[in-house]
Amino acid sequence: MTEPTAVPPADMETKKEGRTRLPSLLSGPAGRNVGLVLALALICVVGVITGGERFASIDNLMVVLRLASVIGVLAIGMTFVITSGGIDLSVGSVMGLTTVWATTWATQAMADDLHWVVMVFTAMAVGTVAGLVNGAIIAYGRVVPFITTLAMLASARGLAEMISNRQTQRVQSDAFIEFFRLEPLGVPILVWIFAAVSVAGWFLLNRTTFGRRTVAIGGNAEASRLAGIKVQRHTLYIYGLAGLTAGIAGAMMLGRTTAGTSTHGMLWELEAIAAVVVGGTLLIGGRGTIVGTVVGVLIFTVLTNVFTINNMSTSAQLVAKGAIIVAAVLLQQRFANRSKST
């Protein structure tokens, strides 16, 4: 697959002739994904050795994929935001808000009258609006994304608590629950949704004007503006898209847990960002990869799974995850520095 990063890092210095082949191969876009897949494979090998049957089974695979799906959808939206040079810290709490909003008494009553999809659309609409609010403040209010979305992180969580009164809101519609229990071809519907969002995201980033604008703005916002790209409007859309994915993830979360609560999605923004960055999207913008993000999400989920199978404490898991994030970012910086030195 051709990623938008079809150019090797510009200034790959030929330091020692013999050493260059492998690194220069691995530093290419395909190579970077190969490297990621190798890392994933390595974790799987460890899983098989330590967990045996408990790890290497279809059932466990489906568990892993199902867990990866919700965070994966968030990460796809996040890939666009980061590629454009921004950051969205609010997706986790916005997702929580959407689960609450979609399960209020009023929404469920309406869903009861019409169709359970009303809940899904409500979640998507709420997420999109929250994203657009972020985008409007960032693009037109010129507040930096970090602060804007940090504020949204707090307010969305607070709003969710106010609406739900900090109560867990059960999903009443059996049809809704039934739908999210479907397993077409033996694969859970959540996984299908994740796959569909990823494919759509890949096309959007690599094959459409939307994606090209995103990369261009992340690479050089001023040059993009001077070339006639409406940078502000596009920024608005990008955060709207991130909000939309938070809404989709919210609906999926409802399907998985059959309940809406303001605590859903706590700290998930960090996991999404970590998966995106580990996947190879540049934190400074200008380069993004959906394939990398998907693999990044899988790496984290499989890792958690292996840890859990081995009864590792959650605290130790956190430490291990932190180490992985730092290692990935260090690697990335080396590439970034190289291409800047000319």
Partner: protein, 506 residues
């Protein structure tokens, strides 16, 4: 080694080879420099000049070759080593840190310190002295560099080179962002330095500068030395151009066919103003006409272009294109109405450096080439390749990242962007900055062809001969006002300079 020169060489580079993945930038270059001379390095865009000096500066490691200083072989594994050997470099692309002050920039990496505390007072005093020496006492040590003009940044970069006790100072196209007054200043400093026995390696595409200050010339072509230690005084311009390009190039401006009286007015600017940067600028450009804005750097010419383009929001006046008034402060409106701008600072304003050449070329038009939001990359590649061929882009490969192109070729890619987009009004800010002689006349011819096809062109250049030679009508800008307007044939360089000076002193 006996070279037959009266003085022993201070610096010798021999058989320098530098390979990049997929590109051979240097393929056996020799250069030797004697103390106290101005050694000019000539060559077309992409010939390898910048790469050579980056090897000398320790920014690149050569694949092969030797470097000798005072006859002793040295290695330059990193930039600090170069400075320790007394080799200071002013890079082609400005390398100052915008967020730091002037003094902090100058002493970046060799901060004046005692016991770990930086000596701010001393650094400031020395900075003031350096600035005076460079003829810019108005640039204070505590000013933030980001707020300076491009020329101001260049001065800071030069001060930094001077602040080192250098024996060799390399200047990669220092004059590109300077106007004639500033260039005089630069040359005065260069003469001072050479009188102290410091050697200067000077890169420029302006042959007249080389005639003024150069002693000897080394010519590069396709990464090889093709002319070595040619004395400036006895080498003709034709000979140099022939060495550089391998063919005879006519170094002339295209003919002016004359704009017919009844040609419609394309661009009309009326009473345009931008705060106190410039005010009351009115001008018209007719279809097929090239209008040039001459003036000093900092006189507001670039700002005028950017305001016409909507990149800055005008505080007064209107811009009218083919009878329709444009919305203020909207680049998108200007572009869709058919205006294009090739901005002054390529790197920060023009290029998405890590993207391939073709995506930079189609940055303004990929959306139009797309079908219902789906990119048509094949069409993009094809259009870019056509322009690459038409402009003789080197290398021709449009897939490589634009960062790896030489400065002049990046400029051509900027022009290609608007050629692909096609526009009715073209605004060019320093269109030949960093462009070699051969490509220069190609660009002049191209701009003229565009005009002949009905495009209205508004061009800003710090090189007065360029404005006079290329434009039909010349406007002299001084201190944010248009002080004079005349057909290009009826005004000469001295008059323009006089007008500029009058304007500033008034």
């Amino acid at each position: 080694m006996v070279t037959g020169d009266p003085t022993a060489p201070l610096l010798e580079m021999q058989g320098i080879v530098k390979h990049f993945p997929g590109a051979k930038a240097l393929d056996g270059v020799d250069l030797d420099v004697v103390p106290g001379e101005v050694h000019c390095l000539l060559g077309q865009n992409g010939a390898g000049k910048s790469t050579l000096i980056k090897v000398l500066a320790g920014a690149h490691q050569p694949t092969a070759g030797t470097i000798r200083l005072d006859g002793e072989q040295i290695r330059i594994p990193h930039p600090v080593a170069a400075l320790e050997h007394g080799i200071a470099t002013m890079y082609q692309e400005l390398d100052v840190v915008d967020g730091l002050t002037v003094a902090e920039n100058i002493y970046l990496g060799h901060e004046l310190a005692s016991a770990g505390f930086t000596q701010r007072r001393q650094a400031a005093a020395r900075t003031r002295r350096l600035m005076e020496r460079l003829g810019h006492p108005e640039i204070g040590p505590h000013q933030e560099v980001g707020a300076l003009s491009a020329a101001g940044k260049q001065v800071v970069s030069m001060a930094r080179a001077l602040s080192r006790d250098a024996r060799v100072i390399v200047m990669d196209e220092p004059s590109a962002v300077l106007d004639s007054g500033e260039v005089d200043n630069l040359f005065r400093v260069v003469e001072e330095l050479t009188a102290q026995g410091i050697a200067i390696i000077y890169i420029s595409h302006r042959l007249e500068e080389i005639r003024r200050i150069g002693d000897r010339i080394t010519v590069l072509k396709d990464g090889m030395t093709v002319g070595r230690n040619l004395p400036v005084a006895s080498t003709s311009t034709d000979e140099l151009i022939k060495l550089m390009t391998g063919k005879d190039v006519e170094y002339a401006f295209p003919e002016r066919p004359g704009v017919p009286q009844d040609a419609p007015v394309r661009l009309e600017v009326d009473g345009l103003g931008l705060g106190d940067t410039f005010r009351d600028v009115s001008l018209t450009v007719r279809a097929g006409e090239i209008v040039g804005l001459a003036g000093l750097v900092g006189s507001g010419r670039s700002e005028i272009l950017e305001t016409v383009y909507g990149a800055r929001r005008a505080t007064a006046g209107t811009v009218t294109l083919d009878g329709r008034t444009l919305r203020r402060g909207s680049v998108a409106a200007a572009v869709s109405a058919g205006i294009g701008l090739a901005p002054e600072e390529r790197k920060s304003q023009g290029l998405v450096l890590d993207e391939p050449v073709y995506r930079n070329v189609t940055l303004a038009s990929f959306a139009r080439m797309a079908r219902a939001g789906w990119l048509d990359e094949r069409a993009e590649r094809k259009a870019s390749q056509e322009q690459a061929a038409a402009l003789d882009l080197r290398p021709r490969d449009v897939e490589r990242s634009i960062r790896t192109l030489s400065g002049g070729n990046q400029q051509k890619a900027m022009l290609a962007r608007w050629l692909v987009h096609g526009c009715d009004v073209l605004l060019l800010d320093e269109p030949t900055r960093g462009v070699d002689v051969g490509a220069r006349s190609e660009i002049y011819a191209l701009v003229r062809r565009l005009a002949d096809a009905g495009t209205a062109v508004l061009v800003v250049s710090s090189e007065i001969p360029e404005v006079l030679g290329l434009a039909d009508q010349v406007l002299v800008v001084s201190d944010g006002r248009v002080v004079h307007s005349a057909p290009a044939q009826e005004i000469d360089e001295h008059q323009v300079l006089d007008l500029v000076m009058e304007g500033t002193s008034a």
